[in-house]
């Protein structure tokens, strides 16, 4: 079992690599080889055991860049490399090149190598939705993206579905909810606060909440997202038709519920570290993201979300070695 991962140096990629090494197998077969691809060399995991891990720095937008990897006929490809939404919005050409053209080149490379049995798992996003949405979205809700990142992801979904339908590859695309609680530091993403207002107080630091507390979001923990990526390699291809892209089962939670979970887990001192400073610009962006989904297809296929927001907070605290005040 040879697994190749693009975007392997990213937060999700690194976590996926750790999980694959910990599990040691995928599709009931022992993992023998991992090929990590990113524009910088992805860090080599500690204790890979008998798994041969190679980390290659390359520009996936360069012609033929992936050829040397595809020639090795990976059994599973995780395609996580992407230019994030703010960068794709700032630079249309860059977004098209990385988010769309590189995906197309990957598909064409698979076709040339006749990797008809290779499972390709790609990450799409809630950002692919937009426009005049119903209160509760489902698997048949149209993608009317209002940002270039979402448009590029939606185009990739169509392409991967068509290549899979033609039997050229065995692909699927998982639309990810907003990932909460991300580790690390705040970043420029509009959704950054959703991790910040929990992570920083739990770490004894101050945080700013820029949105009204009744704002609802559709979220999933990093652990469940990685579980979904693993499960995405396992689902039989026949079960994926007629359309191989769908939303993962996040949970709907309001900011008030997130802060209440923080309060319960770490007490009033932690909760009081969150300052409310409305930022209409951030509110406008985040409020446009759908927060309620019936994720029937994902659930039928065995994808599992978090049970509760408390579980998300507990998982983060446990990973960081924090203890609940009321435990």
């Amino acid at each position: 079992m040879h697994i190749a991962i693009t975007g392997a140096a990213g937060f999700l990629g690194q976590r996926l690599v750790q999980q694959l090494i910990a599990s040691g197998e995928l599709r009931q077969q022992p993992i023998t080889r991992l090929t990590l691809l990113d524009q910088v060399e992805a860090p080599l995991p500690e204790n890979p055991g008998s798994i041969l891990v190679m980390s290659i720095a390359l520009d996936i937008t360069a012609p033929g860049a992936l050829e040397c990897v595809l020639e090795q006929r990976p059994d599973v490809i995780y395609h996580l490399a992407a230019v994030v939404s703010s960068a794709a919005e700032a630079d249309l050409e860059l977004g098209m090149r990385v988010n769309f053209d590189a995906t197309r080149a990957l598909l064409e490379g698979c076709r040339v190598q006749e990797l008809t049995g290779t499972r390709l798992v790609m990450a799409s996003s809630v950002a692919a939705y937009g426009g005049e949405l119903p209160d509760v979205l489902n698997d048949m809700t149209a993608l009317h993206p209002e940002n270039s990142y979402g448009a590029q992801k939606a185009m990739c979904e169509l392409l991967i579905n068509d290549y899979s339908r033609r039997g050229l590859i065995d692909g699927l695309v998982l639309r990810l909810p907003t990932i909460v609680i991300r580790p690390g530091r705040p970043n420029a993403a509009a959704s950054s606060f959703a991790s910040s207002i929990l992570r920083e107080p739990l770490n004894g630091e101050a945080a700013v909440c820029p949105v009204p507390t009744d704002l609802a979001m559709f979220v999933m923990s990093p652990g469940k997202v990685v579980d979904a990526l693993l499960h995405g390699a396992e689902v039989p291809g026949e079960a994926l038709t007629p359309f191989r892209a769908f939303m993962l089962p996040g949970i709907t939670v309001t900011v008030a519920e997130m802060l209440e979970a923080l309060h319960e887990a770490a007490g009033e001192p932690a909760r009081s570290r969150v300052r409310h400073e409305p930022d209409p610009r951030i509110e406008a962006i985040v409020a446009s993201w759908p927060a309620r989904f019936e994720t029937t297809k994902a659930r039928q296929l065995g994808f599992v979300g978090d049970d509760s927001f408390k579980q998300i907070v507990d998982a983060f605290m446990s990973e960081c070695g924090h203890k609940r005040v009321n435990a």
Copy 2:
């Protein structure tokens, strides 16, 4: 008012040219120039009056092919050129090149020339729909195409919407119902019978109906499709957001109703020229096309469909100089 038309030698393109010449104006401005583009030289219209008509044979997939036209800064571009569904299914590369890459090159050409005010009207198709569809589709029904032609059209919709959202072009995409009654002869399209079972009997010839008579289709007459293309140039851009692709208001009609309309228009002799010879292959394809739509957006924007199937038959008979038996 300079109008450029790709696919101008096709059935719709030629009819659009005739209608533009007959009207003499678009967007309340006199038409001064028509540029007809196709892989073969589109026939020059008779009696163009004071309108300068140029017909250029070119391969729109060749690098920079459209540059000479876009440099002339057309006010409206009709993008009708496409590889049809059966050909796109037979040859993925050809379909991607003509249906997708050429559209992208057209958009990029418009961006380079800064044609931000140019109205681009593209034709998409009912073939972009597929998968597990509801009984009645609406403007928020997802596109899950089950053919490469539909996938390529759906990708173009996303791209045109994104370029328009960014203010690089002023585009819209009209999803066309099955066009009935097409002139000419039967062709290899699965939907060919839908025109044949009316056109041939009205012309005194035999025809074969390969599908059960309770099969329903979503149809529009050639005249109303061309009217919609003209109206597509007139709709204000602001009214098109948030998503600039939608289904035109066809009408739902069963094959039995089509044959009944034939009977009423041309009597039992005409009706008896239709022989029933089931073809499961054609039935499977045509039955997979959705037949019932709420086309709210198109109607709100002022697009108008046929009143009845009788009107469609009457329009065809009138164009051909046929007389109704009961008129």
